[in-house]
Subunit: 326 residues, 2 copies
């Protein structure tokens, strides 16, 4: 009998220590962390007025600048530039336009001067004319070898550890976690499962045109020139409605491109949590907001607090930044 | 001790009887049923060469004519016609075109003569200019009251019981079940959870243009004129790639509009199951295939068997048809 009592006591303690394990160890002990946990508690407690059934626990997050870095330029653009360089090394005749030449030289400023047309040329040259699986094999190879210019880390080591923990915590509480990003779906799906625990079907984003054809008896889906849908600004709630068909109860982002998504989410009935990651940490990362060309954040900072959104101050609220080395 | 033994024996028997409960009671004891079960066994048995991890157990099904009826015309078109009638009853000036007049008179032939343009007029007049949630409230009200012209059943009672059982069986075996339909996503999502156990985020289909705007301080997603994507033929594998991002291992349909989806699915490596429901049952339903205007099936019957697809013979393979009354 004594043995049984000991066994039960041990089991209880083990389960209690499991229940009280910190789900967000890389978040500092500040109001931000407390607000997130108290929100999750309130929507998962069946006795709470704010209780939400698991089927409706939808959480959506922007990717660039929210779940991983985005400076000095979006990592997908760095992939595209590296792909242009590789193609040019094989065949210099590939560089048929000024935009492609600028890309091959890594001249981001010249590319930026060319505007959307120049960017689209580089995207088309590297993101079309090949099967989805061949494109993804190329991205995967790039992720295995390429290093970020200032941190020296692999790009998929530059995911934000506090956000990786948040995603995992939400899934443990029966949330479905989604990426809703201006980045390309085929690009993000290469690493979303490994880096974030997010399966391909929960990766929502921008996509190129694609075609279906049968080549020598083998069906193939091919990436074609042109962008079929831009998942940014108003495009985010529109795409969430198309793909998920439910209004999320949590939305997180870092730029004004996320404003409509967070606005739509938090306007829903019942408890909702909108959050914006403010890049305040010049020491561990990069400090930027309203004046930045990448991840410009003005409206969110100005109007977000009055709309009840949580503004996450990276420098104060995070005890760690990159997942690297963990 | 005897009590304990009895308890354990009872528990074992209960679990054994659970394991041997027929997962497909409305399927006749034919080769079709056997093939489905043996496929599912082979991909879920960890000792099998064909084992597939749960994350990759994706099953996709067409809706009209596969999961519910589609004769004499697609039920969504009947909704649209009923909606035109209701609007005309309120305001006869609503009938501004020949197509709308034909719809108000329920004159399907005149509508058909008007072709795609006439159809689009009717769709635009009933599927745009209102918030997604208002549209869905209208569909829900219609489903509660409208009756099918020949069976007298509510439309959502005309789901196929054998397919409802198949969907449930697959989910019990850790499949994710999806609808991939030429029908509208906002239309299908009104009943997919209730009728099929399929949540909104697993309903893939055709969709109209939509817009996001803030009206009097309230964010709203509005259905706009025009169809943004037609989820039929090549559109099905293209949309599966966009939304799910994985090739399914099971695909089921009933018309040549499903051919590319089943072709792409079954061309994947490893065990795959393609199936086509052949409407052979003039007595309990409607017998139709290659000559039908709705759900035309020629290529699938001609090439499907050589491609290893399972052709389900409704008359022979199903012991029940509609879910009605269950
Ligand atoms: Ca961002
Ligand atoms: Ca069909």
């Amino acid at each position: 009998m004594k043995l049984l009592t000991t066994a039960i006591t041990t089991a209880l303690f083990a389960s209690a220590s499991f229940a009280f394990a910190d789900p967000l160890p890389s978040w500092s002990d500040t109001a931000a962390r407390e607000r997130i946990i108290s929100f999750v508690d309130s929507v998962t407690d069946t006795a709470s007025d704010d209780y939400v059934t698991p089927a409706d626990r939808i959480a959506v997050f922007d990717n660039d600048g929210t779940l991983w870095g985005e400076q000095p330029v979006y990592f997908q653009l760095i992939y595209a530039i590296d792909a242009v360089k590789a193609k040019a090394a094989e065949d210099p005749a590939f560089l048929t336009t000024d935009a492609l030449k600028a890309a091959a030289e890594g001249d981001i400023e010249a590319l930026a001067e060319g505007g959307m047309d120049a960017l689209l040329e580089v995207i088309n040259a590297t993101h079309s004319g090949l099967a989805v699986e061949d494109y993804q094999a190329s991205v995967s190879e790039w992720l295995d070898t390429a290093k970020h210019p200032t941190t020296g880390l692999g790009y998929d080591e530059m995911t934000y550890q506090p956000m990786v923990e948040l995603l995992s915590y939400l899934r443990d509480e029966d949330f479905k976690t989604y990426i809703v990003s201006g980045g390309g779906i085929h690009f993000m799906r290469v690493f979303a499962q490994r880096a974030y625990g997010i399966p391909t079907e929960q990766v929502i984003g921008t996509y190129t045109e694609t075609s279906y054809s049968v080549v020598d008896g083998t069906p193939v889906i091919t990436k074609e020139p042109g962008i079929a849908f831009v998942d940014d600004k108003e495009g985010k709630p529109i795409n969430i409605d198309r793909v998920i068909g439910k209004r999320p109860i949590i939305a997180g982002g870092n730029s004004d491109g996320d404003f409509p998504m967070i606005e739509w989410t938090t306007a829903g009935e019942g408890a909702r949590l909108g959050m914006i990651l403010h890049h305040t940490d010049a020491e561990r990362e990069v400090a930027y907001d309203c004046d930045s060309h990448i991840g410009r954040l003005c409206d969110g900072l100005e109007k977000g607090p009055d709309m009840g959104w949580l503004i996450i101050d990276m420098a104060k609220d995070w005890s760690a930044v990159y997942t690297a080395g963990r």
